[in-house]
Amino acid sequence: MSKGRFGVHGGQYIPETLMNAVCELEDAYNKYKNDPQFNEELTVLLNEYAGRPSRLYYAEKMTKDLGGAKIYLKREDLNHTGAHKINNVLGQVLLAKKMGKTRIIAETGAGQHGVAAATAAALFGMECEIFMGKEDTVRQALNVYKMRLLGAKVNAVESGTATLKDAVNECMREWTTRISDTHYVLGSVMGPHPFPTIVRDFQAVISKEIKQQLMEKEGRLPDAVVACVGGGSNAIGAFYNFIEDKSVRLIGCEAAGRGIDTFETAATIATGKLGIFHGMKSYFCQDEYGQIAPVYSISAGLDYPGVGPEHANLHDIGRAEYVPVTDDEAVEAFEYLSRTEGIIPAIESAHAVAHVLKLAPTMDKDKIIVVNISGRGDKDCAAIARYRGENITE
């Protein structure tokens, strides 16, 4: 029986060699997810180590400047390691430790998940290997250094397009080679069951906090929650506890790269079709024969040809909307938030900010938008400077 379905999406399309590993992971997760001691340990880690709860900040200047809906920023960029990725990593590495694993492997795009994984490995005293597309190791050289500093081995992946998709391929290959002592810390709500569910549950803390914090500040639910979507982990985290609240619009912002009418795009829901890849059925950018398309975005973290199966289903049933945001729009939003609020967002998160710049003025002043600032933008400054024709050295 196929497991882990979100509508038609999800499942476990992986080699037989890995099946017992994912079954073992599912059993362990089911055992620990409601275990009070496990949850207590995780809460302490999230609060004392990662710095949760993250702030829900009223962006007053941005709100006034745009002249429409009230805008709140969920500050995942303030977490330890600078992004939401730590939420999932602490959960998975704690789980791996309970399972008796001594080594973790992880893919990374922008390097945020790799840094978070290397951090948790350092904290838990585990061996760590990171797989990162060669292209991304160049775009995100600072994060490569950080991972090494934290004690991880970083493997630059040269196969295929040498980006996030190829890093995932190589991680899957590595996992089939060494399973018994190794846990694959998948970084997004993708891959075979149970990963999309596990990662979502560990990221759902974002929407749980937004709900409580906004209730304290405004006494009500938001009208819209906006987040960027690559694989979709920060977005599902920001959406999850609002899925049943039908009045809340859920908006995912995909990386359109140079535009959805060009080949240089990573907007999966806008341009992809149903397929099977990386262990799951979902939407993928692909050609007419099912060959996975080389995708492009300025953002290494969104430069992925697929999307998590739960997002694909939220799209199918019309519960969430997915909009494309171009490189140009994201870079403008990156600069806008920096100069308006003094907050430098990750270029990934800037895709969500870019949509809010369009959306907020169309909404009444008594409406509320929450935008998830999934990570901070220090890592992107050099690349954005280059995008603007300024060659700075770090």
Partner: protein, 259 residues
């Protein structure tokens, strides 16, 4: 000829080749050569952009084939042309998305029309197989299952429902030649033979006549891929002699076991 006929009276030699590496004309020429040199069943790889079960050798073959412009339809046409000249069973090996995007029904129907006997999809495990196997079964194309060294308690469940032959993965990891192949798979092969009504063939890592003969002592057949693909990488469009000699060497080693 059916898949089971490949295993009659002798240890089966199953070869693998990536279609269109480096050209489809090369593949078309090599298929009869393999048969003449003692191959009993041929796996035809349809290249995929992201072959996650493959090691570097077959990954590179996929890249060579795809950059040469090979498509699923062109491979179907090649099989249609070559089928009258090749008598051994032919099975496709590719990835789920290649079949899914073509339309499972349409893909299976075409296989049946052009004389393909089976299909291997390494990223479709037991739990997901019905979406594919029900349709292929209806078209008379056998959906081949894999067992791995990590299958443990799953082996019996997989073997009981197996069609064609059971592909026993010799080692952890991805495809590619290995200097040492552990005999830990022998227990799994025995278990498969006890539970399954179809033969058990071992693949992943085998490259020499000695390894082939050793594994054939307990397996019904052996599968060789990367070693052949390496020869094609070296000799390109002029691979017939090298591939022919390699195959006959393996055949001789296997025949010694059958005696």
């Amino acid at each position: 000829m059916n898949i089971k006929d490949a295993f009659i009276n002798r240890k089966a030699f199953i070869s693998f080749i990536t279609c269109g590496d480096p050209t489809l004309e090369t593949t078309e020429k090599l298929l009869p050569i393999m048969e003449e040199n003692g191959v009993d069943l041929i796996e035809l790889g349809i290249p995929f952009s992201d072959p996650t079960a493959e090691g570097p050798v077959i990954q590179e073959a996929n890249i060579r084939a795809l950059s040469g412009g090979v498509t699923t339809d062109k491979i179907f046409d090649m099989v249609r042309r070559v089928r009258p000249k090749v008598h051994v069973p032919l099975v496709f090996m590719t990835y789920a998305n290649v079949v899914f995007s073509y339309g499972i029904e349409r893909f299976a129907k075409t296989c049946s029309e052009i004389g393909i006997n089976g299909i291997i999809l390494p990223d479709v495990p037991f739990e997901e197989k019905h979406e594919f196997s029900d349709i292929f079964d209806n078209m008379g194309v056998e959906f081949i299952s894999l067992v791995a060294p990590t299958s443990d308690d799953r082996t019996v469940m997989i073997a009981e429902q197996a069609k064609g032959f059971v592909y026993c993965v010799s080692s952890l990891g991805v495809t590619g030649t290995r200097a040492d192949i552990s005999d830990s798979i022998s227990g799994i092969v025995e278990q498969v033979k006890r539970t399954s009504s179809v033969p058990a063939a071992v693949g992943f890592g085998i490259s020499t006549p000695e390894q082939a003969a050793h594994i054939a002592q307990y397996a019904d057949g052996i599968i060789i891929g990367s070693a052949i693909v390496k020869l094609i990488a070296k000799h390109g469009e002029q691979s017939e002699t090298a591939v022919g000699e390699f195959c006959s060497g393996i055949r001789r080693a296997l025949s010694a076991v059958s005696d």
